[in-house]
Symmetry: C2
Subunit: 159 residues, 2 copies
């Protein structure tokens, strides 16, 4: 299993967008330059976050991206699932009902115990990512970084 | 993120191998027919489990696969990681050190807080899969299925 690199990009980008002053919009180019990222790929991931309601996009020369809801109610899971999709990585194909060892349908009314256990692990993963909000990310950002961001982001409200 | 279908195949196969009588070896063809699986792909996943020490392989006409260690000490995580590898799905590329917003090296002595959080979720997933052993899988198999397996697996010790 591999997570898209977009997850790292979007966790950082969303936390930076949460720090823009006075509700100013964050231009895509600003993000691309700030993190040294290729703009076309960044665009794709930003679109995914807009689709998921994590961000909103405003077009035009003074447009850009804002949080789609308060930073307190956007979790890491929201960002990860916006990029990776929300379907669990394990799909049970019911091999217990295949081959010469196929179980009769009446023995398969309940979900397969194995797929239930893998699903439970996925839920533990989801629960862990749900514990941290974008507001928490900003809170735990080192003060020196927050100060540097503040100075740099001030230019956005002046646009 | 997607898990290989081999994970489902190998959870079921390992649990079936744990039910062979008198330490008899499980032929690959038996597994392929029992679950209706394509033998070449099955071979690939069985090899991965041998490489991980979950199974051992004995060559020859009466050969096949046995558990590499007691069923109590093989966990679901061992099987999943034998197939999927044990590297975490999220790889932090340190974008905090890139672009015009690059942090100075002295601000990056500790791992990035975001990658730590995603890593923590991965550990929760691993811990959940580590809770269940192959012995547990066999224990929770419905009695009717265990009885049917026993009758069918008896032919293996007669080889």
């Amino acid at each position: 299993m591999k997570m898209s690199q977009g997850v790292e990009w979007m966790m950082h980008s969303t936390a930076l967008i949460a720090q823009t002053p006075d509700g100013a919009a964050m231009p895509r180019r600003f993000l691309a330059e700030h993190y040294g990222l290729p703009e076309p790929y960044l665009a794709k991931h930003l679109k995914a976050l807009v689709r998921a309601g994590v961000l909103t996009a405003t077009p035009g020369p003074s447009g850009g991206f804002r949080l789609g809801r308060p930073a307190e109610s956007i979790t890491l899971l929201d960002i990860v699932e916006a990029i990776e999709g929300s379907s669990p990585p394990f799909a049970c194909l019911e091999i217990r009902q295949q081959g010469t060892g196929a179980l009769p349908p009446e023995a398969c009314r309940r979900p397969c115990g194995m797929s239930t256990l893998v699903q439970r692990a996925h839920q533990a993963w989801q629960a862990s990512l749900r514990e941290t909000s974008v507001a928490d990310l900003v809170k735990t950002t080192p003060n020196s970084v927050k100060r540097a961001n503040k100075a740099k982001l001030a230019q956005l409200s002046a646009r």
